[in-house]
Each structure stands twice: as structure tokens, then as C-alpha cells.
């Protein structure tokens, strides 16, 4: 009985601190998730450093801390990941993908595979086994566009060609980042895994095209409180179970079900309820739980710092080169003559820098890789530390880099605004003059 009490206590403390941390960090115009991770890190290290006994904060597992209650906390955190991906997919505008041009497509593919291959190679050189190195590379694939969108909005360049391409690319980017983790955690031969993926997509396709409309119509006829919501979540869990069974990655099922439901207006109308469950309980708990996994004693070992330095460098350089080169090579659809133009270089660089931030999907991939065994538990603390560091580095350096890359556009916008203001003043003066003359 007492253990349940402390689990409830830990859950309460985690949620309150998560929301406070989120609010605190958002004040610095940084993603609130950093605040949630920070609060988790503080809580976890109270246990690691022996300040609080582990039974009073059962959100820390491993290293001799695992109990029945920590297993419950682990499961709740896993539900948080599932809801995060479900919500992310449900909020996706599929039409954005349809509008994606060649530049966004090529730059996304290179922007995903360049950091993946660089990290895979570098980590293998550092002595990590191939599968683990590949999993490390996957962590660097998905961009978190939120920060870039905010900075681009502030700079007034979101509606530019680069802004629009960045948005399209980010949708595909997430999709690839989530899909690639299957190859890190999936078991069996490559052929077997590929067959399972094809079968999974076929099942999803059938549900998408033929069944989901009837399923929602059936749910509507049940006439029970929150019936449609319950039926939608139920179906999502079935997909998650299938994906967990086949690829050890429940998130794939949640993500695909989110995409399937996103095509229906009824699915979109469930967003508010799902956000309440997700962001009111499970998702902040997942971030706190992840932060709590970072045992600061890991930095006593230089390996963690070296890994963090390597991954941070590849996270930034790999993305800028990959996505930037991908955009450059297409010359933004303006033909060969534009290829070596200065403008092509700058637009491609802006595109590359815009893809640097990583947050949620990197953490999701990290947890999937750890739980799926691609990153063994002995190396997990190093990877957790490295991931939290490259996330922090990527979100801190992106705003100043974007401001630098867009400085010409910012100046142009400023001059344009100033010119408009001058015209307005001139027009007002003329009107005053007219009125005076009449008077």
C-alpha cells in the first residue's frame, strides 16, 4: 500500500515540476521540453546521489533501483511516448506532404541520411557495435521544426520559399526518423524485417482506405460517453501492440493510426480530448522520466563527454551539410544557371540551419532504442547524456545561426516596413494639408 502512495506522490511531483519547468524555459523562448527534462534530471539525481531514498521517488529504474512501482512508472512513460506520436501524426497536414516539392524532398532525404551515416561510421570507429552505432545515428535524423518555425516567424521569413520548404521537409523528416528506428530495434533478418514492414503498411493502407470511415461510423452509433474517443484510442493501442510485437516499436503503430485518423474530420475533432490526456498527464511525465534517467555521475567517465561531443558535432554539421547540399543540388527548381548563384548558396544554407534543432523525436527514438535493446543498458547512461546534450546544443545555437543566415532578408523587411511607414506619414501630411486648405 505504501509503495502505491509513493508512486502517486512521485507522479504528482513530476507533473507539477514538469509544468513549472516548461513555463520557466519557455520564458527564454526555448522549447519547454528542456525545462521538463531539467526537472526530471533534478528529481532523478536526488535519488542517484542518495539524498532521497529510491522508494520515495519510484521514477528511477536500473542500477539496482528497479521495483514493481518503477515498472509502472516506466509503462506510464511509454504511454506518454505513444500519445506524443499519436498526437503528432494526428496534427499532421497530409496535404503538406502532397505539396512537397523536389527541393524539400531531396534535402529531407540527404538531411536524414548524412547525419545517420556519419554517426554510424563515427560511433563504430569509437568501438560501438554496428547496431548500437546505427541506433545512435537514428537519434540524429529527425528535426524538431517548432523552434525553427518560431524563429522564422519572428524574423518574418516563414512564408518565404525557404520557410515553406522547411515546413514540408520537417513533416517527412519526422516520418523518416520514426520509421528508421525500426531497423535499429527490429529483430530477424533484413528480409524478414522488410516483409513485416510491407505487411504493416498494407494493413495500415487497408484501414486507411476502406475501414476507418466505417469504424468511426460504428463508434458514432454506440451512443456512449466519449465513445468515439475510446474507440479511437482503442484502435491506436491495437496498432501499437502490432508494431511492438513485430518491430519492438509501439510508436510506429501509434503514429500510423494518427495519420489514418488525421484524414477524417472526426479524427481532428478528437484532438482537444487527446491533448488533454497527453499534455495533461502522460507526455510531461515521459519527459520528466527521461530526464530522471540522466545520472550525472556518468560524466565521471570521459566516454560520455566524448560521445556527446561527437554526436553534437554531427547533429549540427551533418544536418546543415545534408539538408543544405540537398537543397543546393536542386537549385530550387530554377535550372542549372542558378546552381552556382550566390542566392542558391544562401537559401540552401538557411534550409540547412533550419533543420538543426532536435527535441521530441530524438528522445522518443532514444527510449525506443534503449527499450528495444539496440542500445544495451550498460551504454544507456552515456547515450542519454549525449542525447540531452546534443538536444540542448542544437536548440541553443539555432536561433543565432538563423538570424545570421537570414540577416539580408531581415534588413530588406526592415527597409520595406520603413518605406511603408514613410508613405503613410506622407499621405497623412497631405491629408492634413488638404483639410487645412479647405478650412
Amino acid at each position: 500500500m505504501e509503495t502505491v502512495t509513493w508512486l502517486l506522490f512521485a507522479l504528482g511531483v513530476s507533473l507539477i515540476l514538469a509544468k513549472m519547468g516548461d513555463s520557466l524555459i519557455e520564458r527564454f523562448e526555448l522549447p519547454g521540453v528542456l525545462g521538463e527534462l531539467l526537472m526530471g534530471m533534478i528529481l532523478g539525481n536526488l535519488v542517484y546521489f542518495g539524498i532521497v531514498a529510491p522508494q520515495y521517488l519510484p521514477i528511477v529504474s536500473g542500477q539496482g533501483f528497479t521495483t514493481d512501482m518503477t515498472a509502472v512508472a516506466n509503462f506510464l512513460a511509454k504511454l506518454g511516448i505513444i500519445f506524443l506520436l499519436f498526437l503528432g501524426a494526428l496534427d499532421t497536414d497530409i496535404n503538406q506532404l502532397k505539396r512537397t516539392g523536389v527541393t524539400a524532398t531531396v534535402s529531407t532525404v540527404l538531411g536524414v541520411f548524412v547525419p545517420l551515416l556519419l554517426a554510424w561510421f563515427a560511433l563504430m570507429k569509437m568501438g560501438y557495435p554496428s547496431r548500437e552505432a546505427f541506433a545512435g545515428g537514428v537519434l540524429l535524423t529527425a528535426t524538431s521544426i517548432g523552434l525553427t518555425v518560431r524563429v522564422m516567424m519572428d524574423l518574418g521569413v516563414l512564408k518565404s520559399e525557404v520557410g515553406a520548404a522547411s515546413l514540408s521537409a520537417s513533416v517527412m523528416d519526422d516520418f523518416l526518423g520514426i520509421a528508421l528506428v525500426i531497423f535499429a530495434v527490429g529483430s530477424g533478418s533484413l528480409v524478414e524485417l522488410s516483409l513485416k514492414i510491407v505487411a504493416f503498411f498494407l494493413i495500415t493502407g487497408v484501414v486507411w482506405w476502406f475501414l476507418v470511415d466505417y469504424y468511426i461510423e460504428f463508434a458514432e452509433r454506440l451512443h456512449v460517453e466519449k465513445g468515439i474517443l475510446g474507440m479511437a484510442i482503442g484502435m491506436m493501442f491495437l496498432f501499437a501492440a502490432l508494431a511492438e510485437g513485430w518491430f519492438a516499436a509501439a510508436i510506429e503503430g501509434a503514429f500510423m493510426m494518427g495519420l489514418v485518423l488525421s484524414k477524417l474530420p472526426e479524427g481532428k475533432r478528437l484532438m482537444e480530448d487527446l491533448r488533454a490526456i497527453g499534455y495533461g498527464l502522460l507526455i510531461p511525465f515521459f519527459f520528466v522520466h527521461t530526464g530522471a534517467m540522466l545520472n550525472l555521475t556518468v560524466f565521471e567517465n570521459a566516454n560520455a563527454l566524448v560521445l556527446a561531443a561527437v554526436m553534437s558535432t554531427i547533429a549540427v554539421v551533418g544536418k546543415v551539410i545534408g539538408r543544405g547540399f540537398g537543397a543546393w543540388i536542386t537549385a530550387w527548381g530554377r535550372g542549372r544557371s542558378f546552381l552556382f548563384a550566390k542566392e542558391n548558396f544562401w537559401m540552401s544554407l538557411q534550409m540547412g540551419i533550419g533543420s538543426v534543432p532536435r527535441t521530441e523525436v530524438a528522445l522518443v527514438d532514444l527510449m525506443v532504442a534503449i527499450h528495444g535493446g539496440a542500445i544495451p543498458s550498460k551504454d544507456a547512461p552515456e547515450f542519454i547524456a549525449a542525447t540531452l546534450i546534443f538536444i540542448t546544443v542544437s536548440v541553443l545555437i539555432t536561433p543565432p545561426l538563423l538570424k545570421w543566415a537570414f540577416r539580408r532578408e531581415i534588413e530588406e523587411n526592415k527597409s520595406l516596413k520603413a518605406a511603408r511607414k514613410m508613405e503613410q506619414i506622407k499621405a497623412t501630411k497631405e491629408r492634413i494639408k488638404e483639410v487645412k486648405e479647405r478650412g
Partner: protein
Amino acid sequence: MEIESAIETLNSLKISSIMPRIETMPVVTAQSDILSVLKILRTRHHVWVVSDRDSMELLGVIRYLDVVDILLPPEAHRFKLGMTSRTMKSLLGGAAKAVDVAEPNPLSIGGDATVLDALMKMRKYRVQVLAVVDEGRLIGEISLRIVIDELLRLLRVGGASWRQ
């Protein structure tokens, strides 16, 4: 008419028999500027967004409450996975056309459905207006205002001005 029989009659009415003419509905095209949308929203609770006036292909809806997201500056929004679509509606963030701020895939119902069907759908999804579509084309709407007008007309205690 007694209230019971009026409600019974109302619930069994086909939507197509009470929906307003398309010309009287708040409709804008995808490329309309947001200020035109806001002008309509001073007096209406929603605006339908169609691809163009000829095809009337329904693209989305802008609701009264969406004005909050439109007017909030970008920094007031939270950038989290699963919440980005709201942020993109910010006028200061760069949204300029009706299609930029419209919620795609609005809830709809067929013209052959009854008022009861419409009310059930409204209750399930907590909305006060549904688009009436025929193969993706906007042909009308059914809202609580229309339903109230029709009930008052049946009870002969008030007129539905839009029908006159």
C-alpha cells in the same frame, strides 16, 4: 403547435429542406485575405473556405474561436509536437490567406440527413455548425441558429428571417 409535436416534426425534417441558400452563407475562397474573413466573423460564428466559387469544393472552416489563434503573436503559442497547426494560424507569424487559418476537413453531413442526425453529430463533436456537402461540394449548412429559427417558426412564436 405543441412543443412536443414541434420538436418531433423538427427532428424528422430533412436538412436540405431548412438549410439556407448558398448565397446567404458566409463563404470565402481559399485566396481571400484574412481581413475579409475577420469582417464576416464580426457578425457570424464561422466562415466556410472553398477552393473557388465555381467548384465550391469545401477546403475548411474558420470558427469564431479561431480568431484567438489568428490574433495571438507567435511567441504566445507553444511549439510542441501535436500543437503546431494552431501556431501556423498567427497573423503576425505570416498567415495571410483564408486557407492558411482554416481548419481543414470540417465536419459535414449529407442533405438527406435529418435534423436529429445533425444534432446528434453536433453533440458528439461539440460543434454548433455542420457543412452540408455533396461529393465534396459545399451545398449548404446546418447550424443551431437555423434549428432554433425553424423550431420557433413551427411554434409560430418567431420567424426565421433568412427564409423570408
